[in-house]
Amino acid sequence: MRLYRTLRLALRALTRNPLRALLTTLGIVIGVGAVIAMMEIGTGSSTAIKKTIASMGANVLLILPGTAASGGVSFGMGSVNTLSPDDCTAIARECPSVRSAAPIVRARAQLVYGNRNWVPNLMDGTTPSFLNIRDLNNLSEGEPFTERDILNGNRVCLLGPTIVRELFQGESPIGKEIRVKNVSFRVVGVLPAKGANMMGMDQDDILLAPWTTIKYRVTGSTLSNANQSAASSATNTVNSLSNLYPGTASDLYPATSDVQAADNPMPVRFATVDQILASAISTEEIQNAIRQISALLHERHHIREGEPDDFNIRDMTEMTKTLTSTTTLMGNLLLCVAMISLVVGGVGIMNIMLVSVTERTREIGLRMAVGARPSDILRQFLVEAIVLCLSGGALGILLGHGGSTLVALLLHWPVQTSPAAIVTAVAVSVTLGLAFGFYPAWKASRLDPIEALRYE
């Protein structure tokens, strides 16, 4: 018997009683709908989470200075600065899996503009590569600082939106001078808004400046976690004159007086940075990048086999895992509910197919009398069950997709159409039809034609 004929037969049998067919497949409609909606909302939210992670900088690696130890006494993480700006350039240049790298010099100081002041959460001295790594390239205003600003230690800075709001209150900050520990910085750009990060820390409360400027003009040393008032009273001695020569103008005067030399110490070769931020070229390359960076730093720092590292490399994988595991758990729970609903739907299908076989006993007997083999009967009822499940599945796909679209429209949840979900739904429907349609179909095929013909 040709398949299309079997199909037509099945369709005709189902359309003969459309309401019953619809009610029968309701379980499957709901189950498949739930699967589709769940998968669309699930992939949507996991994409959103990935985006959030990427907004902190996709594939970011953080290289921290390691522990110093002397005579068996460990001084703890970050107790000595072992990373140099040259390490940073070498990493960017020599590691093929690293897209870019930027040094970070941290400071903590009060900003003053007019009669307002603000202590930013983060005050990072870095290079323009930082913007690439942290995905901050599209400044909402102004231009980023340049390599030349770094070489010259120019007093320019980029501000995060929070600082702009707190200090400028709607005014455009571009070109304005703010003071940091009595050093004046010219604002050249405003960073794009990023909101809070996953720890709830405001990522917009940040000031970026050339690392040389932060290192040599703002902080004498490395990370200044000192008490704010104490720090500001203690550090304004050496740099106090520098705001007489604001911005790039000082470059025009190569001849420096003794005072100026004291104010503008040239970067020493032996400079150190607090952290190096690097990004891998892709998520898959993160592990390679870590290996390459560690090999390079071993070589540069002359660390022999077996000696402890003087640096640490961190990546975001752990954090990503933690975040996605929550959504995965929710997704799996929903999937369980959907599966139960599908099984209930399948039992409904089996029930109605058994009824249908009983109702059509005489038809089965007649078909056998005119030459249908048991396998033909089996196939006819199996195809009917599959068609029933598939139409339920199709309705479910529509329902689920409609539902998730509605959720997207009304609740603004991130939703993503998932072809995999649709394929799964179709496969699940067919499997259900096969699994729950088999017993009734088998029962039909085992009928005795004589008794079936006599059935009232």
Binding site: V370, G371, R373, D376, I450, L453
Partner: protein, 239 residues
């Protein structure tokens, strides 16, 4: 060798502890092109015999030679194939598929045919068949919109669609009035004489049996008379 030969056929039903022997030691032959009536009292085993002849059932013991082939030990599938190709059935209660057009009812056996004709050809053949039984105008009618006689003619068209050698009819006129009965019986005669289809009908009614060339009487599962009249048509059997 005859078209149908039965050799010491027994049929026993097991009802719990005791056995009912419905057919006892039946030996007979029916030749190609015959029109035979099976007669007997109710419960004498006519339908049982016909089910065995029609390969719907298997004898408990004995041999059944159909068209030169011993068929009593064939498998389910082989018998289904045989029924599809060589045998047509007409039932007392028509057994048409409800809510299905006359055309589709007639074409139904073709979907199980070995040569597997195309959809177009199947419809064409079904239409031809319906025209032959005089229902060319009613091909789209569903059984519920046809009279009893018309329904039985649709059933005959269905039985003939695969061009069978033998047609079995179990009380084909049992549900019809006398006028339509005559129509149906005339149709059987024409099929038998013009197309050479072997026809075996089961009936209680001597008037119906008259249309056959030979009448086999069954009494209590045994043949009482009519075994040896093969190929000697009774004069009074002719209509």
């Amino acid at each position: 060798m005859q078209l149908i030969e039965l050799n010491r056929i027994d049929k026993t039903y097991h009802m719990g502890d005791f056995e009912v022997q419905v057919l006892k030691d039946i030996t007979m032959a029916i030749g190609e092109g015959e029109m035979v009536a099976l007669m007997g009292a109710s419960g004498s085993g006519k339908s049982t015999l016909m089910n065995i002849l029609g390969c719907l059932d298997r004898p408990t013991s004995g041999e059944y030679w159909l068209d030169g082939e011993e068929v009593s030990r064939l498998s389910l599938d082989q018998r289904a194939l045989l029924r599809n190709g060589k045998i047509g059935f007409v039932f007392q209660n028509f057994n048409l598929l409800p809510r299905t057009s006359a055309l589709d009812n007639v074409a139904m056996p073709l979907s199980y045919a070995q040569d597997n004709p195309s959809e177009r050809e199947a419809r064409l053949r079904a239409k031809e068949m319906l025209e032959r039984v005089g229902l060319g105008e009613r091909i789209d009618h569903e059984p519920s919109k046809l009279s009893g006689g018309q329904q039985q003619r649709v059933a005959i068209a269905r039985a003939l669609i695969n061009r069978p050698r033998i047609l079995f009819a179990d009380e084909p006129t049992g549900n019809l009035d006398s006028r339509t009965s005559v129509e149906v019986l005339h149709m059987f005669q024409r099929l038998n004489q013009e197309d050479g289809v072997t026809i075996i009908l089961v009936t209680h009614d001597p008037n119906v049996a008259h249309y056959a060339q030979r009448v086999i009487h069954i009494h209590d599962g045994q043949i009482a008379s009519g075994i040896y009249d093969a190929q000697t048509p009774k004069e009074e059997g002719q209509a």
